[in-house]
Symmetry: C2
């Protein structure tokens, strides 16, 4: 056999087919409709936005997740189907119905997701026609998986995918994912649209637990602009076709799967930060010696979404005063006499006092594709982190010119 | 007598002298040092930042406010004297000492404030020399008042002042103010540097009460970037030289004074919003039918500082979906079936459903110097508001290129 490039898309795990195409929502023929299908059925778990205003597809997917077996997900980009009233709900149902009729399954066994502009009715006829075409194109090829990843993009500049392979009791397991990122992203239970496929055999309860944990430590620790969308959805589908003895307890096998899933989601979060709207670089804020884990998380997030910090990072400026000001104003316990800040491995503020440092050396750290800011609050023993990205003129351009 | 333009600066109330000049902190000879003095003494009240990391001048002014009588305030711009350790404290004390020795009063009777970059030691010799020169230039002229207003500017493009005149029991009272604005501004107890002078005779307790109320409904309802500085200080000085019978009770005279002071502060807040860093326009978010006043305030502020709303306003784009998404994600009670949004006088979303509107007409409302967004949550009877400004590429330029 010749060399074969491994499938790195959501069709990599056994049992999954995908398709992605342009159905007519977006301009310029850009892909805007995607399907993921598992003809043999999957168990599914998901986490959704906690925004009190959530889109119609979120309502419908929450209902359909009650089904024991699910057969697929229909997704469109370019229109969020949010704030669209009763028509929005019936359109989301219709997306499930048309997909289901192509697959000859019950509509309640199809999930649905949308992303894009809020408050506009879906062009439902274009979408239903598109679903029929997509259903005919479903395949397990790498190109079909990639087509799906492209179909869910909004202001992303590239598709975001990840794949992980592991062995559980001798069975080869694959986990793969496609995610969209870019804007309106903040940590709060779930972020953006994220679709994960795997062939592990696992109970629904443990699949949900592993997903919630993985998202909580990855996509939920990424802030682009501090704003949670109406459509955030992360779905994992498990076909069970790896034929491992089903994982039903929180044993070593579960822990291994959960750890690899968490690692995959961390990879996705970093890809999203690096390709956030207008971003030229990403960073990680680590907060140590906080009074509680919740305060560490709050402080890390506050620093990561502080516009003045994001602008300074955009300018490669070691303006640590803004980091300290953000820590001081976010409402967490801190000891001003122990407060310390490092940029990369260079201490810029120690025990409440400025430290002499080489600003050019720190500027070079900040100018890299990725760096870490570490803040010690001197108030306890808890730590947490948050990913963020710089704030550029391009972010403003993208979001001022995105016309309704 | 010929026509005389009324003094509209902080030297307008009886008893006040001012000066402003360049002492050498800023480049290009820009004014960076100001004094306000009342040789006959004033009672003083103030509100300060609630940031846990506060600058040395905030510590010193808090102490000196315990004095029954105060004689003046020394202010520098271009350097915040924050996060500067023990040297910062001794520098702030020295600013009071040098000012006091010029006026031949006790140093504890001088207040001090600083604004500018965090974490750099003050060039204290330049400042003390500057104070001596400024003390020699003190005058009650309009030009001296204006020089002070210019000396406290940072990224402001113009000085911000306001004056109000009223009568209390036959006595003419004047209230005047100078404020700096521009960036690192958010509502939280006090905002920015704000200096108010008046000649009313009033008790210290009522002066403090009137100030706290006025700031709470004006400067504390303005968000430029959601970030509270380490140096926020609002000081009011009352000379008593209007010779009204002293106001010591919350009677009609107090209420009249408090209302005019609140109106003056509202004027300052609007000037700050209009001249915020990179801002091309301002807006007011009014939230009605909230469950509580606190929730109305929280929701109004969340919408006003939501980057995606600010970008849409910059682009004159009636993207109400972002307003609704901000309301939904800020954690306040709302009824999705009653949620309603108006831009100017045009309803764009009513009872949870989009409303057909003329986007060009709404775009024109947004493109004006000032407009109002009204959101009804349908959850109760409380209302509140917040001022905000658009987010422009220029904001990023200012804050990415402001090098340490």
């Amino acid at each position: 056999m010749g060399k074969k490039v491994a499938n790195n898309t959501i069709t990599a795990p056994r049992g999954f087919l995908a398709a992605g195409l342009h159905c007519g929502i977006k301009e310029l023929g850009k892909p805007d409709l995607g399907l993921i299908v598992c003809p043999s059925g999957v168990i599914a778990a998901a986490v959704f936005t906690t925004n009190k205003i959530f889109a119609a597809p979120v309502t419908i997917s929450r209902q359909h997740l009650k089904s024991r077996t699910v057969y697929g997900v229909a997704v469109n980009s370019g229109n969020a189907n949010a704030c669209t009233g009763p028509k929005g709900l019936s359109d989301a149902v219709k997306m499930c119905q048309v997909t289901a009729s192509q697959l000859k399954v019950d509509p309640h066994r199809i999930l649905v997701a949308s992303t894009g502009i809020i408050g506009h009715a879906l062009p439902i006829d274009k979408i239903t026609s598109g679903i029929k075409v997509a259903a005919a194109k479903l395949s397990s090829s790498t190109s079909s998986g990639l087509a799906f990843a492209k179909a869910i993009m909004t202001t992303d500049t590239k598709p975001k995918q990840a794949v992980r392979r592991l062995r559980i009791s001798g069975s080869k397991i694959t986990i793969a994912a496609a995610v969209k990122g870019a804007g309106m992203i903040a940590p709060n239970m779930a972020t953006t649209l994220c679709f994960i496929t795997t062939d592990i055999a696992i109970s629904k309860a443990l699949l949900q637990k592993a997903l919630k944990n993985a998202i909580g430590n990855s996509l939920n620790k990424l802030t682009v602009d501090g704003h949670q969308s109406t459509n955030d959805t992360a779905i994992i589908l498990a076909s069970g076709l790896a034929k491992n003895t089903i994982v039903t307890r929180q044993d070593a096998r579960y822990k291994k799967f959960a750890a690899v899933l968490a690692d995959l989601c961390d990879d996705l979060a970093c890809q999203m930060a690096a390709d956030a709207e207008g971003a030229t670089r990403m960073f990680k804020v680590v907060v140590n010696s906080a009074a509680t884990k919740a305060e560490a998380r709050k402080c890390a997030r506050s620093i990561a979404e502080y516009d003045l910090v994001k602008c300074a990072i955009h300018g490669s400026d070691p303006n640590w005063g803004r980091i300290i000001s953000a820590a001081g104003s976010c409402g967490v316990k801190l000891n001003p006499r122990k407060l310390t800040c490092k940029i990369g491995n260079i201490t810029v503020f120690r025990n409440g006092r400025p430290v002499k440092f080489n600003p050019k050396a720190v500027g070079r750290i900040i100018a890299a594709k990725q760096h870490t800011i570490t803040v010690n609050l001197g108030a306890g023993k808890a730590s947490d982190f948050c990913y963020g990205c710089d704030l550029s003129r391009q972010y403003v351009t993208i979001n001022a010119d995105y016309h309704t």
